[in-house]
């Protein structure tokens, strides 16, 4: 089961199952501290283990990088505010 941010390479390599995540390289599982998003990507991959019916299956993860970053910035702001409270 492959998880990829490079759809063109995945199409050339032809893994039996893949999840394409339209995110930046180095951010295959999303953005820092976004536990829910990280889990969603992992669960999408695990889901294809049982749901894929033919080799070459590619599942397109639907969240955009812009949306992921927006959510990530909010999470980081909240973490920062929380840290400030305890200083």
């Amino acid at each position: 089961m492959s998880i990829s941010v490079a759809l063109d390479i995945t199409l050339k390599i032809k893994p039996p199952r893949a999840v394409f995540v339209p995110f930046m390289m180095g951010h295959l599982f999303g953005v820092p501290f976004h536990v829910k998003l990280q889990n969603e990507i992992i669960m999408s991959a695990l889901g294809r283990i049982t749901d894929a019916t033919q080799s070459g299956d590619i599942f397109f993860f639907s969240k955009t990088w812009a949306k992921a970053r927006q959510e990530g910035k909010k999470i980081e702001r909240e973490r920062s505010d929380l840290t400030s409270c305890y200083k």
Partner: protein
């Protein structure tokens, strides 16, 4: 197949790399048969293999400056804490991973899934290498074979492959 909202952020990677390093990129003509999982996920043993260059602190750093790459791998114990690990890799942006390693090597998320019994258990080790390996034949004949043998010895039911 490709929807407008799920486009690759850096298109043409295969062509770009292959143009810069001719013959370095792998193409497969055939699909391998689909293996089926013969047990439920909560009973399955899960392994994770990454090209993120993540390794336990204190292990020999990957040689990120070698012109054709580093054809070795590192075992990452699945009981490791994020603070036990470091990254040696030059070929992808690490600004996210420097804050939270899970964006590229989600060891904490996988540990949680095992604790919650969403997956049965994790193998004793995860596996890591660097992605910058410019000799595809050597990659397939040595590193890929070595990792495959090591992973197989862990007897996983599911393996997640994560190029960084």
């Amino acid at each position: 197949m490709e929807r407008s909202d799920t486009k690759q952020l850096r298109p043409g990677l295969w062509e770009t790399v292959n143009e810069r390093y001719p013959g370095s990129m792998i193409t497969k003509d055939d699909l391998v048969p689909l293996a089926t999982l013969d047990k439920a996920l909560p009973e399955s043993r899960v392994c994770f293999v990454s090209t993120a260059g993540v390794q336990p602190i204190g292990t020999l750093p990957f040689d990120t400056s070698h012109p054709v790459g580093d054809y070795t791998f590192r075992r990452v114990p699945t009981v490791a804490q994020v603070s036990d690990l470091e990254i040696h890799q030059l070929k992808y942006p690490t600004f996210g991973a420097e804050k939270d390693l899970n964006v590229v090597f989600p060891i904490e998320r996988l540990q949680e899934l095992a604790r919650q019994r969403i997956v049965g258990e994790l193998t004793s080790n995860f596996y890591s290498m660097i992605g910058y390996n410019m000799d595809p034949e050597r990659l397939e004949m040595t590193l890929a074979e070595d990792i495959a043998a090591a992973v197989e010895a862990e007897k996983p039911d599911v393996v997640l492959l994560a190029p960084a």
